[in-house]
């Protein structure tokens, strides 16, 4: 049987749990190391020879279409279909019915898949689900196997019945559309197919697969990607700058004297950094970012157009585009309990800062605090609780 050459990418989702980042951009456009997550998905597909793509778009679809266009610049051909309301994965897939081949791949646009992860699927001849062993399965649907076939998919399992999770990546035949009906979740549709006697094969992968569900996942994804970058130094590096390890610096960027940069680090175009700024591993810096003298950044991602004042210390943190930060800003890093959409999570991290927030001089943020979009925090404040969008701290 021929290799699969078509993929349907589900890229319509809003990403509620990824707020504040997804207030203004769709989840799939969340930048990791200078590229949106969806671009990694497209590149992985292209590397596996899957070059015909149907992209299901919805929430802020223009941003996706504007970025990817016809797909020509990414070596693929993209057709777009719109899911006007983001009801669920099966509902999204249904929108692509008229363009679907007899056999096609289904992938989530918000999961980073390494090329090897997909490789065994493109030769699959029948309905197949990609599964992966995980230590912590609480976030995912787990699957129970029987003779290499999926027997059952259990969403949000109450107790740990299996350590295999559904990666949301499938090979499906056109028959799936007969089972969607009004069902909105794809796992329920798969369950329906099993009940009607369809064989759904399980293909296990041990290769890289990461899902962005919560704001701090950005740092894990960032680390995975940065480990694979290649060095390239553009821009203008002044004398006396030390650069070690894998470091990529964009055109038009100015690194002033006495900066000390240890890769893996990605710095975008048109930034101004230093003098005397230290940047340590697993840091991604966007376009047109200013990092003022004597600041230190470690294991963090900093979005486009962010301006950081002198003497700041930032670690294990995610700063969204457009944030303006005064001098002597500090994020503390450590174990923290974080509240997201009514659920508590135990994570080790620094701060999350939303788009365009404006932080005064000498602001300190306690571990695990999420500052929303467009917040204003006056100078000399210690922030130990989440601040909602538009919040003002005086």
């Amino acid at each position: 049987m021929e290799r699969i050459t078509q993929a349907i990418i589900l890229a319509a989702g809003e990403g509620q749990r990824l707020k504040p980042f997804t207030k203004l951009i769709p989840k799939v456009m969340l930048p990791i190391a200078g590229k949106p997550i969806l671009q990694y998905v497209v590149e992985t597909l292209a590397k596996n020879g899957v070059r015909r793509i149907v992209m299901v778009v919805g929430y802020r679809k223009e941003q996706v279409q504007d970025y990817f266009g016809s797909g020509k610049n990414f070596g693929v051909e993209i057709d777009y279909v719109v899911q006007p309301q983001q009801l669920g994965t099966a509902h999204a897939l249904k929108q692509a019915k008229r363009l679907a081949d007899d056999r096609f791949l289904v992938v989530s646009g918000d999961n980073i898949l390494e090329p090897g992860t997909i490789a065994p699927l493109v030769t699959a001849t029948s309905n197949t689900m990609l599964v992966r062993k995980l230590e912590d399965v609480s976030r995912y649907g787990v699957v129970i196997l029987e003779n290499g076939l999926i027997k059952e998919v259990i969403e949000s399992p109450a107790k740990k019945t299996s350590n295999l999770v559904n990666t949301g990546t499938y090979v499906l035949t056109k028959d799936v559309f007969d089972f969607i009906g009004d069902e909105v979740r794809l796992t329920a549709v798969i369950q329906g197919m099993i009940t009607h006697g369809y064989d759904i094969f399980a293909q296990e992968t041990t290769e890289g697969w990461l899902d962005a569900a919560y704001p701090w996942d950005v740092l894990t994804l960032n680390e995975l990607i940065l480990n694979k970058i290649s060095s390239s130094i553009g821009g203008n590096i002044e004398e006396g700058v030390t650069v070690k390890g894998l470091v990529s610096i964009g055109d038009g960027t100015l690194i002033r004297s006495n900066c000390y940069i240890v890769g893996p680090v990605v710095i975008g175009e048109n930034c101004e950094i230093g003098p005397g700024v230290c940047i340590f591993p697993y840091t991604s810096i966007g376009r047109s970012v200013v990092i003022s003298p004597f600041s230190i950044v470690r294991n963090s991602t900093i979005g486009d157009n962010v301006n950081i004042g002198p003497g700041s210390s930032i670690q294990d943190s995610v700063i969204a585009p457009g944030a303006i930060i005064g001098s002597h800003f500090a994020t503390r890093s450590g174990e923290a309990t974080v509240l997201v959409e009514g659920e508590y999570h135990r994570v080790k991290m620094g701060a999350i800062i939303g788009n365009y927030s404006d932080l005064g001089d000498n602001v300190i943020i306690e571990p695990g605090v999420i500052i929303g979009n467009n917040c204003r925090i006056k100078a000399m404040k210690v922030i130990s609780e989440n601040i909602p969008d538009g919040g003002l701290v005086v």
Binding site: D66, S70, L254, E269, N355, Y356
Partner: protein, 610 residues
């Protein structure tokens, strides 16, 4: 103002010509046509008789409608045209291409032949039969008159008789080449592999190639599928191919309903790219290369339309930061004025680089011995060959007829100019650094205005039911009001007038009714108090008032009906944000009224005729 295209190569010419014409519709779209050397395909499935005759199709209307009505023509050499009528009404007969008496030579033309009336009468006396009222048709007959088997020679002799402006492409039976010529109207040749393209503008050929030759005035070129030979004044010249940095994708709508909306959304990027490399924050500095402009004594800016409004905002900013006299004149008026100019820096602003009035104004300034500068978005355009110093706005191609992203990018360039000419020694360095910091934050501040799109859309739709509107501003916000009114006029057809807020009571008050909404731009600078006073005076006469005001402005809400909040920014930079809000307001008003937003009635993108 028209768009012209040509193709010669191994592919079928028809689809390429039609696609290219669609890209040029911003230059005119009242009628269109194509001529292809070949044969009409038979629709009975049989092989047609191969022929190399000129097959001519032309009609009134848009290319999309035209292409549905015409037969399939087989042939790999052809020319096409999309028209914005200047000489002769809109009719199928006046649509291009135009042919000679025997329909063996076909011509498409952009520009104006000034002596066509005399030439036409002489040709009629010689027995030539004219079928249209256009100036262009004389070229076809002149080429016929001089044709002795050598097409390029006939074209050269024909053009020697002609005075005026032109970009032409000529197709003739029995020739494996097309002939092109340029005089003061834009023309480019796109270089392909075993094929070549000709067009008024690079956007028409971006789908096929990124290598282009920009022709210069007086150039006559012979283009075949493999060769391009260019002569100027009888001498063979070498014109280097340039790589176009714009991509075809930039010239597509990409999911947006209109080019205008897409281009409004591209403004953060356009401003960022324009500022790029010119400002530094940590060691505060703005720099534009002034080349050999000499000593700065005073500046005169000349521009038309939206570019004129950018110039007026520039007048305020340059005046404030540079401490030299600044003047602004509408380019078409400058050409009628005697102005005192003594080594005055004259700055022409034109998006396309082809605006005829601005080109003429700059040429006049040059004759008067003034150093000249230009701000334009199009590399290789005519103005770049006139001005001593050229600054490019990095907006990418703008397709919507109503200028948006090129306007804010022009502003960015003007602010850069002001900051780089500012005498830093007499400015407060902390103020200067703060301003540079705010400049750097412009892209994300513009993003924030766009994030409030839904709210602005609601008020834009609210404006749709009115027939008249006023826009008021003070200080730097007055030209912003003018631009807001222009945007509303040109795309929604709502009659809009801009006034300095203080002038309204000197006459226009008589027009204020409950059905004349007033849009007030209330920047938080030293004009604010006076603006509030004006708003109160207006409210007392009944109109609905929409205020564009800084977010967190709690006061203004008491005096007006609607507040559109704009992110906090130094009031000097407020024109960027206020303009974007006004563009969205106009866009949604026009959309609610069902107007053809990207191609408004009677307008073409750049006006290349006097």
């Amino acid at each position: 103002m028209c768009g012209i295209v040509g193709y010669i190569g191994y592919r079928e010419a028809q689809p390429i010509l039609l696609e290219s014409l669609k890209k040029l519709e911003y230059r005119g779209y009242d009628s269109c046509g194509i001529a292809i050397l070949g044969s009409v395909a038979r629709n009975d499935g049989l092989e047609g008789v191969p022929a190399n005759r000129i097959q001519l199709c032309k009609d009134v209307g848009r290319v999309v409608d035209f292409e549905k009505t015409i037969p399939k023509i087989q042939g790999g050499t052809g020319i096409g045209h999309t028209r914005w009528a200047t000489h002769g009404k809109v009719s199928a007969a006046n649509a291009h291409p135009h042919t000679d008496c025997g329909c063996k030579i076909a011509v498409v033309h952009n520009g104006i032949i000034e002596n066509f009336q005399k030439l036409r009468e002489a040709l009629i006396k010689e027995g030539h039969l004219f079928t249209s009222e256009t100036d262009t048709e004389v070229i076809a007959h002149l080429v016929e008159k001089y044709y002795r088997g050598n097409l390029v020679e006939a074209v050269s002799r024909a053009l020697a008789d002609v005075t005026g402006t032109y970009a032409i492409v000529v197709l003739a039976e029995g020739h494996k080449e097309i002939v092109v010529a340029k005089q003061e109207s834009p023309l480019i040749i796109g270089i392909g592999d075993k094929e070549n393209f000709v067009a008024s503008d690079v956007s028409a050929v971006l789908d096929y190639t990124d290598r282009v030759i920009y022709l210069e005035d007086g150039d006559i070129g012979v283009v075949s599928d493999r060769d391009i030979t260019i002569t100027n004044n009888g001498q063979k010249v070498n014109r280097d191919a340039q790589i176009v940095l714009w991509s075809a994708q930039e010239a597509q709508k990409a999911g947006y309903e209109h080019f205008m909306l897409k281009e409004i959304h591209e403004q953060p990027k356009a401003v960022e790219n324009t500022l790029r490399g010119h400002i530094s924050f940590i060691d505060p500095m703005a720099r534009l290369d002034m080349g050999k402009m000499g000593v700065l004594k005073d500046i005169l800016m000349v521009a038309c339309g939206t570019s004129y409004h950018a110039a007026l905002i520039g007048e305020y900013i340059l005046g404030k930061l540079c401490h030299v006299p600044i003047r602004v004149k509408t380019a078409s008026e400058f050409n009628h004025y005697e102005m005192a100019l003594d080594k005055t820096w004259v700055l022409g602003i034109t998006q396309s680089g082809e605006t005829n009035d601005t080109l003429r104004a700059l040429k006049k300034a040059k004759l008067l011995g003034c150093p000249t500068m230009a701000i334009t978005n199009v590399q290789g355009s005519s103005i770049t060959r006139i001005a001593d110093q050229v600054f490019y706005t990095q907006s990418g191609p703008e397709i919507g007829v109503a200028a948006t992203k090129t306007f804010t990018a022009q502003l960015a360039t003007l602010y850069l100019l002001a900051l780089s000419l500012a005498p830093i020694d007499i400015l407060d360095i902390r103020e200067y650094k703060k301003l540079i910091g705010e400049m750097k934050s412009l892209p994300s501040k513009i993003h924030q205005v766009l994030d409030g799109e839904e709210r602005i859309a609601k008020h834009g739709r609210g404006l749709a039911k009115f027939d008249n509107a006023f826009f008021i501003g003070r200080g730097v916000s007055y030209p912003v009001a003018m631009e807001g009114a222009l945007k509303l006029k040109e795309i929604s057809y709502i009659h809009a007038e801009a006034y300095p807020a203080g002038e309204l009571k000197h006459g226009p008050f008589a027009l204020l009714r409950s059905n004349t909404p007033v849009v007030a731009i209330a920047a938080r600078d030293d004009t604010y108090e006076a603006m509030i006073t004006s708003i109160k005076e207006i409210k007392a006469r009944g109109p609905q008032v929409i205020a564009i005001a800084e977010e967190g402005d709690e006061d203004i809400g008491q005096f007006v009906d609607v507040v559109i909040p704009i992110p906090r920014i130094d009031p000097l930079l407020s024109p960027f944000l206020n303009s974007v809000a006004l563009q969205l307001l106009a866009y949604y008003a026009a959309k609610e009224r069902g107007c053809p937003i990207d191609l408004p009635a009677n307008l073409a993108k750049s006006v290349t005729v006097p």
